[in-house]
Symmetry: C2
Subunit: 230 residues, 2 copies
């Protein structure tokens, strides 16, 4: 057996920045531009040029000093690196309010993510369509995942059902879960999980906002009290 | 003037965990339970009991040794701390695909977030309704924000329009922006921004998935080559 070359995982922060590069590059390309420098990208996105150069190097492309990168090649390199040059088929599990919101979100096309079907346990939903996508019985998922070679699951079930649904996705052979449930899922090491927790995100914002509004009120009432106190 | 007591900001990680406590507590409460211990919470959510005790203490409640917390009081304490005991009115800016998806998401009620109106620049959208919410001309936003005392903006415009829209929200006196645009917004220090970047989240997942699938393919082809190589 040959030894596989060890692939070093790219830092998550770099991966998270790549879509913003891609967005800028597509805009520059649409505007007729052919070359771009790290410095230009860095200035446009308020980043450090050295960081930009490192991030882009992960995708396998190196700019030429004083010339920069050919934009078309750079776009292709980033897209390939993110796996966005091929359409990724996905199943969505949980066709409730959030699930249907995501089914209706056309923006996923930009990332070449194609939700091919949604699954649910509710007999009233099963057999219907939403935004052109069929809602199927979750019992059909294991068989369909194998036949359709679907590797990615978008999990939008209620929190109570999250762990069971994740278990089903793992048993069905899915390799990655985009987890919108807010639950810390237990899955085998080889299954990837990426969390988007709207509740947690809103918790940060609403606590800080409530605090600011409270202290603004206090300042206001202190002003009315006038010169009292020390 | 009296000196305001210095409020220490609570660590973001603690804030992010609070909604999961709340979810568990509501479930226990619905099941008729009256008391809960840190250890029970920690075990249910796969966390460290000391961490749970610290997180809950931030909300101003302290459990009694060997007895724990009264669940109803604990729920009230966490909700108040997150500002979720009062409805927070919000404006949504950008009634495109993502904006309409969020307008249709009933789950925000759980966090007492109430999107009262959406705003857009597209004449075809202005004057219509989506899921019962009016879509108004963005030019009306500054005046309405003042009259309706709205402090929170949900930003779902395309990336190109993000900075300008954020600027408008700031000028209109909004104090917090829930930013779904994927753009690093420049706002004055006193304005809060919380980012939810679906593109960045998917970038992490799809890159790692593409890498796994590639190395699985390589292993497969090595197996077909059989005993060749060293």
């Amino acid at each position: 057996m040959m030894a596989s070359p060890k692939v070093k995982p790219v830092p998550e922060a770099s991966l998270r920045r790549l879509p913003s590069y891609l967005h800028l590059l597509r805009r520059l390309h649409a505007g007729g531009r052919e070359l771009v420098s790290c410095t230009h990208i860095a200035e446009s996105l308020d980043l450090n040029p050295t960081q930009v150069r490192k991030d882009l190097a992960y995708t396998g492309i190196v700019g030429r000093p004083r010339i920069g990168y050919p934009i078309r090649a750079l776009i292709a390199s980033v897209e390939h690196f993110l796996g966005w040059d091929n359409t990724t088929d996905a199943f969505l599990v949980g066709a409730g309010s959030l699930g249907r919101a995501l089914l209706g979100y056309a923006g996923f096309q930009r990332y070449n993510l194609n939700i091919v079907a949604a699954f649910d346990v509710d007999p009233e939903r099963i057999g219907t369509h939403w935004r052109g996508k069929p809602i199927l019985d979750v019992d059909e998922l294991p068989d369909l995942a194998g036949r359709m070679h679907v590797h990615l699951g978008v999990l939008t079930v209620p929190a109570d059902a999250a762990q069971d649904a994740a278990h089903l996705l793992v048993l069905s052979g899915l390799k990655a879960i985009w987890n919108f449930t807010g639950v810390a899922l237990e899955v085998p090491r080889e299954v990837l999980v990426e969390d988007v927790d709207l509740g947690a995100s809103l918790a940060v914002l609403s606590n800080r906002l409530a605090q600011r509004l409270r202290s603004a009120e206090e300042e206001e009432s202190e002003r009315h009290v006038g010169g009292h106190g020390a």
